[in-house]
Amino acid sequence: MMQNKLSFHQSSVSLEIIGLPDFSNNENNDQISIISQWKLTIIDKPLIEGKIEHLLPIMDAFYIYSNLLIKNEIPSYESKLIDIKAENLHIHTIVLKSSKPNIKPLILKIGNSLLSDTINCFDQLNESSKVKIKKTSAYNEAPKKSKLGINNKVKLFDFIMPPFIAICSLILLSSTFIYFYNPVEVKEKNELLNPN
């Protein structure tokens, strides 16, 4: 059976996706849901290729690294498959580790221009209607601050609830003493004990 090929280009980088449609889901002939192979071509650099299980971690690595780079944090990403580190603000070192034994890792050095081209190729793949791919967690990551906002609400709830419960229980407990303590009765008893 003929496999489908789809390419995404951005300046000096191109990404090729090869695979088949999922006919059991009544998909069109030109769609790709079962990715058998992918190739990332960066001009003047060795070809990077692999299977679907390698593509998602690599995309994740690039997205997380680019987010760190922008946020003024230490841009460094390490995983079993790929390491990306910044040599300086302009040059980034990528180490691709093979899953097969006795194969040396592939080391690439790319600049900011090639990094943004690569990210844009991955964006095109994520947005393509013709390729069904699981969205990586780092793609379009929601800002941390909004997450913090929710966390703050939880913290505020935790902060208010213990004293609130304590005050309520104190009121309930002290109100029961009204039944045990009658000031008039106590006064009469005292008068009987001390008639003077």
């Binding site: 300046s11 680019s66 987010n67 780079l69 922008i70 946020k71 003024n72 603000l89 302009h90 040059i91 600049g111 900011n112 221009s113 990094l115 943004s116 081209d117 990210i119 844009n120 964006d123 095109q124 994520n126 947005e127 379009n140 990551e141 929601a142 800002p143 941390k144 601050k145 909004s146």
Partner: protein
Amino acid sequence: MPNKVTIWKLRNSNPLRKSYVNNNIKLNEFNALIQITVEFSRYLYPFIREILQSKEDLEKNSVIWNDFNKRFVELIKERFNIDSMKVKKLLNQSENDEIIVRLLLTLSFCISNQGYQKLKNFLLDI
């Protein structure tokens, strides 16, 4: 954005500008400004890329970076409040390189169809 004048007025909401007017930007205006920025980044991507590339290897090709940096500083001096510490940082030659590169990178990462959401997330996360 009904017209260009509205955009021009909105620019003055930037506290770093000389012509700063204390206006609270509405959510739809904030979204519109992001949308405009993303559209311009997409249109200008080849130039943004060239500037970034020029900075990567200044020995080979420093002309583009130097021209851009010079124009950037000129515009800041012309339109921004140079007494502000933040603006002084933008004008400081030893510090502004990093800021400019990060700004250009942010724009270059947001040129896709989802770029609007990406840029918004970046801005809210800073």
